[in-house]
């Protein structure tokens, strides 16, 4: 489990400073998606069955949250991309989440996702070499 990645730590660190409600749940949703996305890039890759199970659990958890609408739309679009694209889709998916995260949850969350996207791009580059 990649629980202590800097971007994840940053998002978890934002939780106590974010007021209760859709914003806090937005930070939580971003953290959940980031965890799954980063685990997709693990070497050796996680088994297909485990991946399907995790994506299903993530989808179920996100559906129970009260999220700001733009973030919900972005996350709804991101999940199928992650499911189908696997590790290769991670940098793109994270990059598409930066703007809605900034707009709805705050700059700090957006910046954390952006850093995670950059790290994923570099990670994907080194994997392909």
């Amino acid at each position: 489990m990649s629980g202590w990645d800097p971007a994840q730590v940053e998002l978890v660190g934002l939780l106590p400073h974010t007021g209760r409600g859709p914003r806090r749940e937005g930070v939580y949703a971003l953290w959940l998606v980031l965890r799954v996305a980063q685990d997709l890039m693990l070497q050796p890759p996680i088994a297909d069955r485990a991946l399907r199970r995790r994506m299903g659990a993530l989808e179920a958890r996100l559906s129970s949250l009260t999220l700001p609408p733009p973030l919900r739309r972005a996350l709804t679009a991101a999940l199928p991309q992650l499911r189908e694209g696997g590790a290769a889709a991670v940098p793109v998916v994270l990059a598409t989440l930066v703007a809605p995260a900034r707009e709805t949850v705050g700059h700090e969350a957006g910046d954390a996702i952006q850093r995670a996207a950059r790290a994923a791009r570099q990670g994907a580059g080194s994997l392909s070499r």
Binding site: M1, G3, W4, V9, V12, G13, L15, P16, H17, R24, E25, V27, Y28, W31, R35
Partner: protein, 374 residues
């Protein structure tokens, strides 16, 4: 009886009965694996409830039951720093882990992982505890907060609650594996000798007439729609004084203004709002003959120290699980079609009339208080 003499059961002392030795395992009744575990291992239990006053106090029946069932267990509670005094003197606990305002969950999660708890009970079900559950892998369990039934009751007034279980007993669902049951006792607040001394000092400063019994009133509430109107409180306080009772107003710093509107400048109605901490407020409540409160934390504080309570319920109802728990209490509420309108109260009555509390007459409350004081 010599050592070789048979016991009345037919079994020689120090030897297993032959029939048991020869019985195939598949024929023996299969005991619950959790029960076997409870016999051989000493559990390390963490209960997580971050807030608020009433909810934290309502975890104490579970803590007590756990201690009775597992005298040697390590029992810890994780809560916000502001509520830690509610549990700091609890003899059933080994440790209270307090989270400072704004403290990140990451170092906390690291510490909890290192502590290797065998049972992690999520008694909150909030975003923070969900994050903690993922950061600290282990034997987590939660309870059903009946959120769906609550929302349905508020929005459609259809009661789909399958039981009337108080919140304090819902927490036991999280401890299902530990096989504990409610002991029919109330919530508890243990106060330190220092807190008792602070309460005594406040009483001495207040200068109440000692022969008059003391009654506490708690007019504050976080959400305005849960507050009984100030004019009712003022009237009640005046009536209580007429009945030769002393009145202490209990509350936090945020309730100071409200308390000053009720306190009589030269009378026997004196405000302790914002002057006493949680422990000392509990100690003061213990010295009262009765307490009057809305559906708020001080109501649970009073029940936790064994003071009879007159509880005034407006926007919330019994189904939510926050009626005074296993205590000497009377709940006053109006039977209105608009109730409940909210789970925690709101800034104003959604219909604007606030009849649920406006129509609870001070005289009715006074009668109940006098019954307790008689």
């Amino acid at each position: 009886m010599t050592s070789e003499e048979a016991h009345p059961s037919g079994v020689l002392p120090g030897r297993l009965p032959r029939c048991v030795l020869l019985t195939p395992c598949s024929l023996l009744p299969t005991p619950d694996p959790h029960y076997i575990y409870s016999l051989v291992a000493v559990p390390r239990i963490l209960l997580v409830r971050f807030s608020a006053l009433g909810d934290v106090l309502l975890t104490t029946p579970l803590i007590r039951a756990l201690r009775v069932r597992y005298p040697a267990a390590t029992i810890s509670v994780l809560t916000k720093q502001v509520w830690a005094p509610l549990l700091s003197a609890n003899p059933h606990l080994d440790e209270v882990v307090a989270v400072a305002p704004g403290q990140s969950l990451v170092p906390l999660a690291r510490a909890l992982r290192a502590a290797r708890f065998s049972h992690l009970l999520d008694l909150h079900g909030s975003v923070r505890t969900r994050v903690l559950r993922l950061l600290v892998p282990g034997g987590w369990s939660g309870f059903d907060a009946r959120r769906r039934a609550r929302q349905l009751l508020i929005r459609t007034h259809r009661d789909t609650y399958r039981d009337r279980l108080p919140v304090a007993e819902r927490y036991f669902e999280a401890a299902h594996d530990l096989q504990v049951k409610p002991d029919a006792g109330p919530a508890e607040l243990f106060t330190s000798p220092a807190a008792e001394a602070r309460a005594e000092a406040w009483l001495a400063r207040a200068g109440f007439e000692e022969e008059r019994p003391l009654v506490a009133v708690a007019p504050g509430a976080t959400h305005a729609s849960k507050r009984w109107p100030v004019r009712h409180w003022r009237r009640l306080a005046a009536e209580l004084v007429q009945q030769e009772l002393n009145v202490a107003i209990i509350g936090g710093t945020a309730d100071r203004v409200l308390a000053s509107e009720i306190a009589a400048p030269k009378g026997w109605v004196i405000s302790a709002a914002g002057e006493l901490d949680l422990q000392a407020s509990g100690a003061l409540l213990r010295r009262c003959r009765a307490a009057v409160s809305g559906d708020t934390g001080p109501m649970h504080l009073a029940t936790a120290v064994g003071t009879p309570v007159v509880a005034l319920f407006g926007p919330t109802v019994e189904q939510f699980g926050f009626f005074p728990y296993r205590a000497q209490a009377v709940v006053l509420q109006r039977d209105l079609p608009c109730r409940p309108c909210s789970s925690k109260g709101g800034p104003r009555c959604p219909l604007g009339h606030h009849s649920c509390l406006e129509e609870l007459a001070p005289e009715a409350v006074l009668d109940r208080v006098l019954e307790f004081c008689a």
